[in-house]
Symmetry: C2
Subunit: 338 residues, 2 copies
């Protein structure tokens, strides 16, 4: 069975069959339908062998990004795509809002795109066993672990920082400068995600230093937008001016907080120090430059793909990699005023 047989069977030129097979737009709908019908009826396998067909289905890796508007993810996405490409895989990107559920999005992607593996970026930390099973193919959590879920560690992989330890470290930097009235700027203390873990690190650092936790200084934004972080910080400083430091769980939140502090007439770091976690490029160029714990973004992306490829090829089982941040010394950390 060749392309000539198909052409003869439906009375069109070989080039027309070729155009249909190559999805060329200038074939009329009726001719296209006729060619497809003949292909169907004659069981013609276009171009190559069924082996190629199978091969063409095995080359995609899905990337589900939750909250893609966060510039922190941009270099990670780039690294993941480059690593997929280098290994001969197509990366299928699917971006969902912060509030959406990546498990159902991921499962739908697996069904519709015939993926071999999937990487979740910016995902939840509380996958259940049922949710893990719903994915059905190997997956890697990038930037998140599963500390609040009951998924067995052997059925998935992860690459992330130790959110508790880094939250502790950021808070400690402020305590070491003599700060005691340290606010924490986060999504929600019960988000079962990075906010909750970094907040736990903040609480532990305060406790270890003998600083009592002050509920007024826990600034929840509930969503992850820059606008919400700006408004929440503005409100905090309108209510009380004695805050001398802020630990922001993300650079983008810290940038909003700096703007709010400026807008209430105070200066950073003289009136209020700020330390964050992330290390995005933009926060190098804020006035003043943000002091932040930089995550190894490119390494995180590359490592996520490497792990997934190892699992897919059978070279290694699922694994969990913890990476460390590097302090980028900026201009937003200073001694406490008293």
């Amino acid at each position: 069975m060749t392309i000539k047989d198909v052409a003869a069977a439906c009375g069109v030129a070989v080039s027309t069959v070729s155009r249909v097979l190559n999805n060329h737009p200038d074939v009329s709908a009726s001719t296209r339908a006729r060619v497809l019908e003949a292909i169907d009826r004659l069981h013609y396998i276009p171009n190559n062998s069924a082996r190629d067909l199978v091969a063409s289905q095995v080359d995609s890796i899905g990337l589900v990004v939750r909250g893609a508007e966060n510039p922190f993810y941009t270099p990670i996405i780039r690294a993941i795509e480059a690593s997929c490409e280098a290994a001969g895989y197509t990366m299928v990107l699917h971006q969902i809002p912060v509030g959406a559920d990546e498990i159902s999005a991921g499962a739908a992607l697996v069904r519709s795109k015939r993926l071999r593996g999937i990487i979740f970026l910016g995902g939840r930390f509380d996958y259940s066993q049922e949710e893990g099973a719903a994915i059905g193919i190997p997956f890697v959590c990038c930037t998140n672990t599963n500390q609040f879920g009951d998924l067995d560690k052997s059925v998935y992989s992860s690459v992330s920082i130790d959110d508790f330890a880094e939250g502790y470290r950021a808070t400690r930097l402020l305590i070491d400068q003599g700060h005691a009235r340290i606010a924490v700027l986060l999504d929600s203390v019960r988000d079962h995600s990075i906010s909750e873990l970094r907040y736990a690190g903040y609480c532990q650092a305060l406790a270890d230093a003998g600083v009592p936790l002050d509920a007024d200084l826990v600034l929840e934004t509930i969503d992850f937008t820059m606008a919400a972080a700006y408004e929440r910080t503005l409100r905090a400083f309108r209510e009380r001016r004695d805050i001398t430091a802020i630990f922001a769980i993300a650079d983008s939140m810290a940038i909003s907080a700096m703007k709010a502090i400026h807008d209430v007439g105070l200066t950073v770091p003289e009136a209020c120090s700020i330390v964050a976690i992330d290390g995005i490029e933009m926060s190098r160029y804020t006035v003043p430059t943000l002091t932040t714990l930089t995550q190894p973004q490119v390494t995180m992306g590359e490592e996520a793909v490497k792990i997934l490829l190892d699992v897919l090829s059978g070279a290694a089982p699922s694994r969990h990699v913890r990476l460390e941040t590097v302090l980028r010394e900026g201009e937003t950390l200073g001694p406490a005023r008293h």
Copy 2:
């Protein structure tokens, strides 16, 4: 020919053949090879008909992003993906560095991924007829036109702002505040791209106002990084302090320039005003807030997909859409000091 025949032919269970077909990892390499060989030999078409095979090839749209580290593109990419998804297409993302050539990247993507259409984001403005032909499938230029190339307007589509007119408008905003020593911060005046076009608008606005062009005030960064924009601005202010305004062709460059101006001990806008083009979220939160001509990012992405779908379905021919910016009044535009 059924899956049972394949299983029988190579002496494995039906479930094993199914696993191979579904790319499940836990099949040994030798078994996988044996099953694929049998599929090949028996001309078995997995699961569905050849019609599905053809259908599975027609559902992808490629997106080639040049310079994806620019946060300006993030909302556009998101809008393009959402629009593709809503129309039942998979978006295949390919990110390339600013210096790379999107035509060869796009052509390779078309060959390897069997795309139906392609969108170029952040691409060149000088495609030749040969390059257009190399793509071979319908394509839309998003943010770029083809003002320096010889591609016939009927063979591709575009969505962009009028770079010349917006460069003129930005410069005019500064002239209207009494500025005469206005620097322009850009990639290169001969980049055959947005820099060259916006620079032409800058020159025309100066000429119309009777302000002579001063070559010292043309700040070329040669690359598009924030670091280069910072260094170039720093150097300009070290050489001469009489610059009273900057037109930066992109928000990210303007943010770097603000930092450089701060670092030489001057203030924005008292010592130097800045106006840019883009309107990224981050520049709302800089201190001071950037005054910028905001591009309709989401509309640009949606429109690019809409045009491509129209061309693919035959509903409309190629077309070229020009969108306008909206002035976001920030805090970086003030009257000239004399």
